[in-house]
């Protein structure tokens, strides 16, 4: 049993060692509400997807973006990951092991680019288009990166935090008419 080794190791090692970081596919594992999250860099992302595809994560369930413009100091990032303005969030599922995995990739504002997952996971076609449409993140290698929900000639990316959503003030009874 693995437990038998523990007291021996404790007796020999006098210093209190930090626990070895748990690794999954070569990346430190972070847990968010019992869900496993990995933080690959943009360079690691295509390679990681290939590994994941080979290890049974056959479906990208969801791919979306987040704009952290007004909430830059998020606490859950691992120490070696530098926060950037945009984040692309990919949810994968492994049907055989009934496991889910989430990737969060930091995408800088100055050059919002990421390799497309299309060749491995064709199902990301519409999701990458949506992320491009809403955040302006460009997916290199996507066959048809056009706006999907907004009209073709729309200016700006509506889910960015600096995009004004606009509001018309409520007209209350008795207030002077807005003419």
């Amino acid at each position: 049993m693995a437990d038998d080794d523990a007291p021996v190791g404790e007796a020999e090692g006098e210093e209190v060692r930090e626990p070895e970081p748990e690794l999954l596919f070569g990346l430190p594992v972070t847990r968010s509400h019992d869900q496993i999250v990995l933080f690959p860099s943009a360079e690691q992302y295509p390679g990681l997807l290939t590994t994941l595809h080979e290890s049974g994560y056959h479906m990208v369930i969801d791919l979306t973006g987040v704009d952290y413009l007004t909430h830059p100091g998020r606490t859950e990032l691992p120490a070696d990951v530098a926060p950037e303005r945009f984040e692309v969030v990919v949810n994968l599922i492994n049907h055989r092991e009934r496991a889910r995995l989430r990737l969060r990739i930091q995408v800088p504002e100055s050059d919002p680019r990421l390799p497309s997952a299309f060749d491995l996971y064709p199902g990301t076609e519409a999701m990458e288009r949506e992320t491009f449409d809403m955040y302006g993140v460009v997916f290199d290698g996507h066959p048809d990166l056009t706006r999907i929900l907004m009209p073709e000639d729309w200016i700006g990316h509506p889910l960015r935090k600096d995009y004004d959503s606009g509001r018309i003030p409520v007209q209350f009874k008795g207030a002077p008419a807005n003419r």
């Binding site: 479906m59 949810n91 049907h95 076609e125 066959p143 056009t146 959503s165 509001r167 003030p169």
Partner: protein, 446 residues
């Protein structure tokens, strides 16, 4: 006229130059390009690629036509661009966004308590599911457990909603294929299911019933009669459908062998729900990744074997009966207790308490003006909606409004299978295929 529009966002916002959203004409694409667009998006074996590339470039006998967005059989405002050679569909491209109202953006401006009013309008045929996904995600972020009774009420209500949604599918599927009596029957039975939902929630659609922390109200007196009325009525009616459709040669001819898809293709395209199960792939989140109390009820996961339109229809037909099983078990096992969590920071106090207690008044005021705060973090929770995996991803920055609220709509992903399903079929089969994918455009465009 005053509005609060600020100056345009700073930074370079260029005019987009992504090119047309439409289907480009075939002569400008060659070889692999054409393959990518046509086979949409599937990875083919090398032999298949060689074969497809050797196909002659279609000459000017093909034409590109629009189907929709106002075509009655597109179930809303789905627009399909079809390249036809005679009656045969060569390529197809769904063009969406006609119903886009920026609900994810709206969700960032609403508190967590207001959130369900917004998300319930996404999938208007099964609104309770989106509310459920949203509420489960918020509860995960809050790290709270809702009372047992609330869990079972949620199960009862969502399964009732699944029945009504599948009945709606039976109606529209019949209508699309010319079985107009089926349309009337389907609507008639759905009306009965909606009557029960109305008795409980007060509304036929867009209920805003499932909320973070529980449900909006307890089940009313006599709810058991409402459930039993439906459970007693449906088996007879389903037998009628069986005679009308399953045993009818014309119906089978129209559906069998049409729009075939394999399990590998479904996995590659991210397709979930009845379409995935129709290929024989045994996957249902209710059984395989149980949420709420689905591990305590017995039901079967129905799978098909051919992956064609008939299997998809038959699976939904059989799932009505499975949902009835679950509803019956909810009826038997409904526990007593609270219908919402007794956490004063999340649940508004009962009306009577407000007159007696200053604290209750303050809580009431705070919850309805400022809303409750959710700890910083992010979570993704998925449930099995009638159309497939419905996920909700929320990022919280610690305030009372979601920093980012994203709904993974199953219809949005499922319509990606249309170009593949329609390739090589007839236009008339295309109508059957759209119908069998059962997209809800409110959810596609959000």
């Amino acid at each position: 006229m005053t509005t609060t529009h600020d100056a345009p966002p700073s930074g370079p916002v260029e005019r987009t130059a992504e090119g047309a959203q439409e289907l480009s004409s075939a002569d400008v694409l060659a070889g692999a390009e054409r393959l990518r667009e046509r086979g949409a998006v599937l990875r083919l074996s090398e032999a298949a690629v060689a074969e497809a590339e050797a196909e002659p470039v279609p000459d000017d006998e093909t034409m590109i036509i629009n189907m929709g967005p106002q075509h009655p059989s597109t179930h809303g405002v789905l627009r399909l661009m079809l390249e036809l050679q005679g009656e045969t569909v060569l390529r197809c491209k769904p063009v969406i966004g006609y119903l886009h109202t920026g609900m994810e953006r709206t969700g960032e401006d609403l508190t967590y308590l207001q959130g369900p009013t917004n998300v319930t309008r996404m999938d208007y045929a099964s609104p309770l599911f989106t509310e459920l996904a949203f509420s489960l995600t918020v509860e995960k972020l809050l790290d709270i457990e809702v009372p047992e009774r609330a869990v079972w009420i949620r199960m009862l209500m969502t399964e009732m909603n699944r029945i009504s949604s599948h009945l709606l599918f039976m109606a529209t599927n019949g209508m699309d294929l010319g079985a107009v009596s089926m349309m009337l029957y389907g609507w008639r039975e759905r009306e009965e299911a909606l009557r029960f939902l109305q008795e409980v929630t007060g509304l036929r659609m867009n209920h805003n019933y499932i909320r973070p922390g529980g449900v909006a109200a307890d089940l009313p007196d006599g709810w058991r009669d409402g459930v039993l009325r439906l459970l007693d009525m449906l088996p007879e009616r389903l037998a009628e459908y069986d005679t009308l459709l399953n045993q009818q040669p014309i119906w089978r001819e129209r559906l069998q062998g049409i729009g075939v898809i394999t399990a590998e293709e479904c996995l590659a395209l991210g397709v979930t729900g009845p379409i995935l199960r129709s290929t024989g792939y045994d996957w249902d989140l209710r059984r395989d990744m149980p949420y709420m109390a689905f591990d305590q009820v017995e039901f079967d996961v129905v799978v098909g074997s051919y992956g064609d339109c008939f299997d998809r229809y038959a699976i939904r037909f059989a799932e009505i009966a499975e949902s009835m099983k679950i509803v019956r078990q909810c009826l038997e096992n409904m526990p007593k207790g609270d219908y919402r969590i007794q956490d004063k920071k999340v649940t508004p106090p009962p009306r009577a308490r407000i007159d007696e207690s200053m604290e209750a008044l303050i809580h009431h005021f705070k919850i309805f003006t400022e809303g409750f705060k959710v700890p910083e973090g992010e979570a993704y929770v998925a449930i099995e909606s009638p159309r497939g995996e419905l996920g909700c991803y929320i990022v919280s920055d610690g305030s009372s409004k979601p920093y980012r609220m994203h709904i993974r709509g199953p219809s949005f992903v499922n319509i990606q299978s249309l170009p593949h399903l329609m390739h090589g079929g007839l236009v008339a089969d295309g109508v059957a295929i759209i119908s069998s994918v059962d997209p809800i455009l409110g959810e596609v465009d959000r």
